[in-house]
């Protein structure tokens, strides 16, 4: 078991004075991580997410052994391979070939040991003729390919990888995923920082959300990514609100409505065809989003929006009542709005919903979006694979028609084939 005990505070001292001593007045203290206690089991793949400067990289640095905690301790059981920076230890003037051996040296592997890994590394990096060119001529992607290839090929029990996967192209990313899977099978422990939540969801068995130096959430990738995404939206809304309150009188009525609580969304429910509330739906099933609101004034020109997000933050769809031609004349008092999704066309996965209630909305004016009473408590629903299907059905279940013909003539379909000019 690989245990990380009380990897407590880590201190970056702001060096101002002429001494390396402990005199506090010489330093401004910044605790990149504080009170972080966690165990990571052997063989698990842990994703670390969080905003910039939250302490993710510091955590990795501690795990790799490159940094020592100011207080607390890190206990590692096994050999660590770290990829914290693009081209760590790459010498720009040496060729890729020479750099592979140089890296091996820094990792404590002699030439003979590196020789046995060499073919694997080269095959994975796929640098072609560039392998024998100086590394300074490499593109960022090539650099990353070589670095990733070395870091994941050398024998290690624990690998620590910072946000580097983003620079590879889709093809290489696919290879990286395979490589990760292989590492998982070998029983390698991986800790990975990524801003691409889809990667975390796809690869990790556990996810940590680090916020301002503490662990904000720790659990399954789905839960943690959803919680993190939610907080990002809230932050964004708060920022938008703060921006608006400065921008003046024009928006004041809508602001006032919301602030005073005159208008508010009370709850959002997902309901099955039979009227039963549920959180789980199958592809193709109808889903009704039931919104309960209250208003102390009549809203004759109200517009309601239901936005569905995937847990990685992608907006899947945004239903806006005025765009669908629905006129909502909301009377004062409490009321219910139902949004009916006839057939759910979303692929399997977890989705988050945010609801906006606008006293009025001009679709051509993006600023008017801000006047909403937005409901954003974490409310998720799950779309299930149809029973008995294991194959990945994709993001969208697009309705299609199938036709089959004998022979190679497609003319029978009635679609004229366009001729090349």
């Amino acid at each position: 078991m690989y245990k990380l005990y009380r990897s407590r505070p880590y201190r970056l001292l702001d060096f101002l004075g002429l001494r390396v001593g402990q005199a506090a007045r010489y330093f401004e203290e910044f605790w990149a991580l504080q009170d972080v206690t966690l165990d990571i089991a052997r063989g698990s793949t842990v994703g670390v997410i969080g905003r910039n400067g939250a302490g993710k990289s510091t955590l990795l640095k501690l795990l790799s052994g490159a940094g020592a905690p100011t207080r607390g301790e890190v206990m590692l059981y096994g050999r660590v391979s770290a990829l914290l920076d693009l081209g760590t230890g790459f010498h720009p003037d040496l060729t890729g070939h020479e750099n592979i051996f140089a890296c091996g040296l820094y990792l404590g592997l002699d030439r003979a040991a590196m020789e046995t890994l060499y073919d694997k590394i080269v095959a994975f990096a796929e640098l072609g003729p560039f392998l024998h060119q100086p590394v300074r001529t490499y593109s960022v992607g090539m650099h990353m390919r070589l670095a990733f290839s070395v870091a994941t090929s050398v024998p290690a029990d624990i690998q620590v990888i910072d946000e580097v996967l983003g620079v590879g192209d889709a093809y290489f990313f696919g290879k990286c995923v395979q490589q990760f899977r292989r590492c998982q099978e070998e029983g390698r422990t991986t800790v990975l920082v990524s801003h691409d939540h889809a990667t975390v969801l796809r690869l990790c068995t556990r996810c940590l959300w680090i916020d301002r130096g503490v662990i904000a959430a720790d659990g399954t990738p789905l839960e943690v990514v959803a919680a993190y995404t939610q907080s990002v939206y809230e932050e964004r809304d708060r920022a938008a609100e703060a921006g608006l309150s400065v921008s003046g009188a024009e928006v004041a009525p809508a602001q006032a409505l919301r602030r005073s609580g005159a208008v508010g969304v009370d709850s959002v429910q997902f309901v099955k065809a039979g009227g039963v509330p549920s959180r789980v739906f199958s592809i193709g099933e109808p889903m009704i989003v039931r919104i309960r609101y209250h208003s102390r004034v009549a809203l004759p020109q109200a517009v309601v929006s239901v936005t569905v997000y995937r847990t990685d933050g992608v907006t899947v769809c945004n239903a806006i009542s005025s765009m669908d031609g629905a006129k909502l004349d909301l009377a004062e008092g409490e009321g219910t709005i139902e949004v009916v999704f006839d057939k759910l066309m979303f692929g399997p996965g977890e989705y988050t919903v945010s609801v906006g209630l606008y006293p009025s909305l001009d679709l051509a004016d993006s600023a008017s979006m801000q006047h909403a009473v937005i409901w954003h408590k974490p409310q998720t629903f799950l779309v299930r694979q149809p029973a008995g299907v294991v194959m990945d059905l994709g993001v969208v279940r697009q309705p299609v028609q199938w036709r089959a013909f004998a022979g190679i003539e497609a003319g029978a379909s009635g679609v004229a084939t366009r001729e090349k000019r």
């Binding site: 060096f15 790799s64 490159a66 990829l83 760590t88 040496l94």
Partner: protein, 262 residues
Amino acid sequence: MNCFHMLFRHRRLIWNLTLLDFRLRYAGSRLGLLWMLLAPLLVLGAYLLLFGGILRVRPDLSSTGLEYGLLIACGLLPWIGFSEGVTRGTASVLAQRNLIKSQVFPMELFPVSAVCAGLIGQLCGILLLLVLLGLQGMLGLNLVLLPFLLILQALFTIGLVWFLSCINIIYRDTSQVVVLMMVLLMFVSPIAYTQEMAPAGLKFVVELNPISYLIEGYRNALLYDQFPNIRKLAIFAGLAFLVLLTGHRYFMRLRRVLPDYV
């Protein structure tokens, strides 16, 4: 003494790092390793021209230009080895900042390999010099002292560089200061002159410079075939061990926090 144990344990790694150091230094240059001999030869030529040709310095009136050239070479080669080791070694840890920030690596070895690289360059020059001396029939038994001198020089330089490379991470000015100090130190090192040639009033300056003991040792072993002055050699040896152990202690104490500063 765990410092010697550490050096011994990592001997292969040090050797490989030194090779890498060479490769890095000459990567992309046309003449490559040839520079290792070319550079000292050019400096030697300049010295000969300046001191022998223009200033007409002679250790004693009877000596020829060739003898003077050999005398300079005996002082110049250790000097170049030393100063190169110090300047490159001082910058060596900082130069590997990427690595230090992301990996566990015995970083105390970077200064060591920089010093070794300097020594290897020096050794190549000395081998060439030995050939020349051999042709002149000037080689004697005291040559056996050469490895001893090299080791003492290595220990002294490594200790010094451990100290300097550490400081260089916290104060980046160090490498600038070191370059300057090397120029000044060069003038008070008996390279183109001998200690005896210094005027009595200024002799103490040369005596205070530990490098002059070293150069004198090399001259005695290579050129004069004399057993070096035991007292002076002992002083230098003691100093070398002191510097080495202090430097090692200092580096090891700071190495934990160094990644935060690089």
